[in-house]
């Protein structure tokens, strides 16, 4: 029995979180719907404990006969995922109570999705990758349509489910091709096979299918169609969650698959990534200009941001990975902050989602307007906000890898995207008040203040340690 026990230790954080999810489910069932608040709170505690367990992990370990891997890359990404889920749960608290979503399944499903995401980034085999991905996706489908009496939310869930199933199919097809031609599903063995000789065509075709399936999960163009509709239709805290945790998980998984087993096929997959990246940057920044709904705007903004992150992936170097990790960390913080402000957009108790509803925010609630401006300028990459440093790192990595056209397109599209970020600032700072927003709840204000402070100015101070741990994480992929 000894080997099984040693296998359990690397997976301890996931196991703990899975058990916690089940216990929370039981607690919810026995307490009834009145216990939703308690379950939510305990879920946050469970996430924090998982984070502490993760921090205790160090070094490289492969478990479950090579299905599962832990390294500093996995730890870094998992911490980001936990942070994203935890913050999303906190900002959801007030919303779910007011919008009649006060059911205990909500936090439980989010925790289960998180377990799936953590498995994804620790996958060392195409099979464990798929299992993790499906655990995440199935939970997300349900969460997207959580407000089941709302037609929009149901539509969002259904759309997400149908397209998600399609992408899973493509992924599985790709996996089967790779297995057929490489003879294995294990990442380490695949890498050995590919290094030993020329890559069989079937593996390359399979890789393209896998990349397409994963591109769907990170909503890179041309697999992005679901994003604006799902963001708009899903309840706002759910959109916030979708915009951060699954994105981080999927892009980290993307990196692990591409840089790990298929590292030697860099020239082949770089073309795919470059195409997705350029298309995402262009579509994300151009389509966002006409949006009037702030959730749709954020959806296109997230598409553009994924495009920027993919520039770092395309670099295919440790610098590129480090840049993407930092980029996603900053993206996560500012996106949660922005969504917290969107959740706070209520007029006379009713949630509003139009950008025009922010008019005159700087007069009615200057602090909220200031935080919003910080997030917007950070997303646009205007220094001294943190978003600038994320873009700078990606620039550097891409330039070093010789991706000059990609870096120039990135520079120009960030100039275009500035336009719509400025629009949000313009409405909240320059326009006159039409209908003031209600005062946000304490929890929301707390999250907004904390994330805004992190984006500027705390990021200027904590830059070095975060950079170093991201560098260590990136190095662990390229040992």
């Amino acid at each position: 029995m000894q080997p099984v026990l040693t296998d359990l230790i690397p997976a301890l954080p996931e196991i703990f979180l899975a058990v916690a999810a089940m216990l929370l489910l039981m607690l919810g069932v026995f307490r009834g719907n009145g216990g939703a608040r308690l379950v939510s709170g305990l879920a946050v505690v469970a996430l924090v404990v998982t984070g502490v367990l993760l921090l205790r992990q160090d070094g490289y370990d492969v478990a479950f006969s090579g299905l599962y891997i832990t390294d500093s890359f996995a730890v870094f990404s998992k911490l980001l995922i936990l942070l994203g889920t935890g913050l999303s749960l906190i900002i959801a608290q007030n919303f779910i109570a007011r919008e009649d979503m006060d059911r205990f399944e909500f936090p439980v499903l989010m925790v289960l999705a998180t377990v799936g995401m953590m498995m994804m980034v620790s996958a060392n085999d195409l099979l464990s990758l798929y299992v993790g991905l499906e655990l995440q996706s199935l939970s997300l489908y349900v969460i997207a349509s959580f407000r089941r009496d709302s037609a929009k939310s149901t539509e969002a869930g259904l759309k997400y489910f149908v397209l998600g199933a399609l992408s899973s199919g493509m992924l599985l097809y790709g996996i089967s091709l790779i297995y057929g031609f490489a003879g294995t599903t294990n990442f380490i063995t695949i890498a050995q096979v590919l290094q030993a000789g020329p890559a069989p065509l079937g593996v390359i075709v399979g890789l393209v299918f896998v990349a397409a399936g994963l591109a769907f999960k990170i909503s890179a163009v041309p697999f992005h169609m679901w994003t604006p509709d799902v963001y708009e239709g899903a309840p706002t805290p759910v959109s916030a969650f979708f915009a951060v945790a699954p994105k981080v998980a999927a892009i980290c998984l993307f990196i692990r698959v591409l840089e790990g087993p298929f590292g030697s096929l860099l020239p082949q997959w770089r073309q795919v990534i470059e195409f997705c990246s350029v298309a995402s940057m262009l579509v994300g920044s151009l389509a966002a200009i006409r949006q009037s709904n702030i959730k749709r705007l954020m959806a296109y903004s997230s598409i553009a941001n994924i495009g920027y992150a993919l520039v770092g992936v395309a670099a295919g170097t440790a610098d590129g990975v480090q840049a993407v990790l930092i980029y996603m960390a900053i993206y996560l913080v500012m996106t949660v902050g922005t969504f917290a402000i969107i959740i706070a957009m209520r007029q006379k108790g009713k949630a509003v989602e139009e950008i025009a509803d922010l008019a005159g925010l700087s007069k009615t609630n200057p602090m909220l307007a200031l935080a919003l401006a910080i997030f917007m300028f950070s997303m646009a990459g205007v220094p001294p906000a943190a978003g600038f440093f994320g873009k700078l790192l990606v620039f550097m990595a891409a330039w070093k890898a010789g991706l000059y056209p990609l870096s120039i397109i990135m520079a120009l599209t960030s100039g275009i995207s500035l336009f719509y970020y400025l629009k949000v600032c313009k409405v909240s700072w320059f326009d006159d008040v039409k209908e003031p927003l209600d005062r946000p709840s304490a929890g929301l204000s707390w999250v907004v203040t904390a994330t805004a402070l992190v984006v500027f100015p705390v990021a200027l101070v904590i830059g070095t340690p975060v950079l170093n741990s991201a560098a260590a994480a990136a190095a662990s992929l390229f040992h």
């Binding site: 205007v382 700078l392 520079a411 313009k426 070095t464």
Partner: protein, 561 residues
Amino acid sequence: MADWPILSLTTFLPSIGALLILLVRGEEQAVARNAKVIALATSLITFLVSLAILMKFDPASAGFQLVEEHSWIPALGIQYLRGVDGISVWFVLASTFLTPICVLASWDSVEKRVKEFMMSLLLLETMLVGMFTALDFILFYIFFEGVLLPMFLMIGVWGGPGRIYAAYKFFIYTFIGSVLMLLAIVAMYLQVGTMDMRVMLDHTFDPSMQKILWLAFFAAFAVKTPMWPFHTWLPFAHVEAPTAGSVMLAGVMLKMGGYGLIRANLQMLPIGSATYTTLVFVMSVVAIIYTSLVALAQTDMKKMIAYSSVAHMGYVSMGIFSANAQGLDGAMFQMLSHTVVSAALFLCIGVVYNRLHTREIARYGGMAHNMPKYAVVFMLFMLASVGLPGTSGFVGEFLSMLGAYEANTWVGLFASTGLVFGAAYMLLLYRKLFYGKLEKADVMAMPDLNAKEIIYFAPLIAVVIMMGVYPKSFSAVYATSLDHVLAHHREALAAEGLTPPTANPASSFIPAANAETMSAHPATTETPGTEHAAEPSTPETPAEAPAQSEPKADANPDAGH
């Protein structure tokens, strides 16, 4: 006291003031009052502290002084690195000098959201001082971009009716230019391995790479300067910005472009500069002639001054890239002079705008009768802008033209026509505003300058005349640094086998240029003819020409290439 981080102090004192203003609470009236008092006190203290920079600065040394060096993000080669040399020190002073004046000028004219306005103004000062003293390229970039944020708010919140369009155009235009510069910075960093500008200044970049890098930097600084045809954001921004915004914009922000052109383009990329000299010359000459003509057709005073700024900055870019002692000296002097003169002209417009709330030239007329003090002040700055000897404007325009003449006769010739146009539109403006019959009742009812206005015009007048009659007091500070820049430039060109531009000892021209100008002094109510203002400089240019005609042919770097 000797080891105080005096540059950081100058940079962040205004931010501390802004934070203090943020904490002000209470009734709206009281808040506005306290915010103004705090802003004025902070900006005055900052100015005093910045005077200490000037006192500690040693003009005899060409290197960077008062250097502050701290580790910041070592993984990216980014440091907290500050310092000044002769080129940047005046711009620091210009920023700290103009900010208290702007606070005073906005004292009564800004009525809504005073607290936020004063905060923006102080933050702008922080960004400007930070940008001129940054020696780490990322730090430089952060401040360079950071300037946009307070200015965006100032135009957008306190601007005129077209403020939204102007704010957008201003921000996006300059941002796209700057992003290209960021790419160039990254490319240079990957060559050198550090963001330290001092290292980059000494490093010789590959000539073919220089040509690309030069264009990227030029994109950023040409938009900021602004050079024709990238100037289109400026008139909009000026027209819509509140007076203080225009003053800071014309006074200091445009100089960011000129400073960048010297620091990055000329100093770091000499081969690139030599390659594109013709391009810059063409752009500068078109700017000087074309925007002067456009200014002539304006009916809005602010727009007219805005276009005149583009023309004046054309002399600057022309002087910088003539890459000889006179040209560079002239460009520096022109920038400093333009700082004071354009700031003062926008303040002058602010004076009547506050009284009548229109900038239409046709709405005024005959103000010399009821506002004599104002007429005198306006005339002085108008003549300085035209380049009357004895004012600051003359020295800069004359020297930069001389430099251009040496580098390329045609450029010098065309540029000198700009002087005539400049005199034409400024004098026309003056005639329309101040002469003629005082007919309009509301114009008649306007009171003359009040005490506060006199207080903030007085130092500007003093500086303009000081710069005109004793330019050496200003140019001595940057002479050594410019010599160093030129020596370095010639060496770099010689190493590549390019003929360096003519070698003349730097700054020897200032006393000569000034000698015959001492007597001329602006009269108060007399109408100076167009010739009167342009005369002293135009005949001199050909007079110098024969002496310089010999090296002229080789001076054009393209010919030697």
